[in-house]
Symmetry: C2
Subunit: 154 residues, 2 copies
Amino acid sequence: MGSIGRNSKCGQGNLDEVVQQFLERIGEILESECVREVSIDEVTEELKALTPLLRVVLSKWVPEIIYVLFIRGEAGFNELKRALNISSRVLSDKLGELEGKGIVVRGIDAQHKPPRVHYRLTKLGKELGLALIPTLLTIKRKLRQEAHSLNPLH
Amino acid sequence: MGSIGRNSKCGQGNLDEVVQQFLERIGEILESECVREVSIDEVTEELKALTPLLRVVLSKWVPEIIYVLFIRGEAGFNELKRALNISSRVLSDKLGELEGKGIVVRGIDAQHKPPRVHYRLTKLGKELGLALIPTLLTIKRKLRQEAHSLNPLH
DNA sequence: CTGAATCCTTTATGATACTG
DNA sequence: CAGTATCATAAAGGATTCAG
């Protein structure tokens, strides 16, 4: 169940597993001596550079928006609104911001009577969507474990 | 430069490259037909489940805190405060929240005269730190590209 | 349907001061 | 050093209304 990790239907194998392997792999790389040497000042500097975009990408609603667009390919305004359970104002603001940052593009299909609008991810947006998958899967796994341990049947 | 991706010093090879390969790999998996079939309702349901924890993990300051602790292994209160340029109240709140969620643990070393406190990531915290790496690297790459294209020398 | 405009409420955050 | 307490402000969010 769920959009990410529903792998049995995919010929390509288990996404969850691939992510798991990957996390182990970079875990090993990061464990290797070198990381511990990083000074607090270096980390501070790095964060200072990353923070502006980080704040946009990882702010409220944004990961959700990116995720929906990533999975669905595209979505209309009200479709997103319903999916996220968000007010139009906030959604409108966020989409505007994301468009400004080059993460999302707005398209209009004038064919329809009430012209239909749809949002899609740009290349950057797709990259971010992809990059968010490990975090989402990790959270998902955590929730599964909790559900498990609370369920007396397991 | 920077903490993530400073691979030349690591024997284990290029982190950036590993992340890149991984993203391509899961990109392929996700491209394979199956994803597009996911209904908007399924995505909505999934998000509803993920959101509570997602909001904690991806809220302001939290990714930064996790990242610093991830890279450094541990940090004291004021050390974090300086690194993030955050007020004590907010930091205190966030650390309390993260402790409550089992993402961070607080340790006290009573040996020191003013007892020294240090924060570390729990297993879950480390998993999340790991999972955040692709997002951070993607943002970092993006910033590098921008810097590049703005610089006439390149 | 797709939003922009308004108004209003609730958090979140920041600065400052203070304690053990 | 490691916070807590207080106060003031800004930012975020929601509800409603309206227009193209």
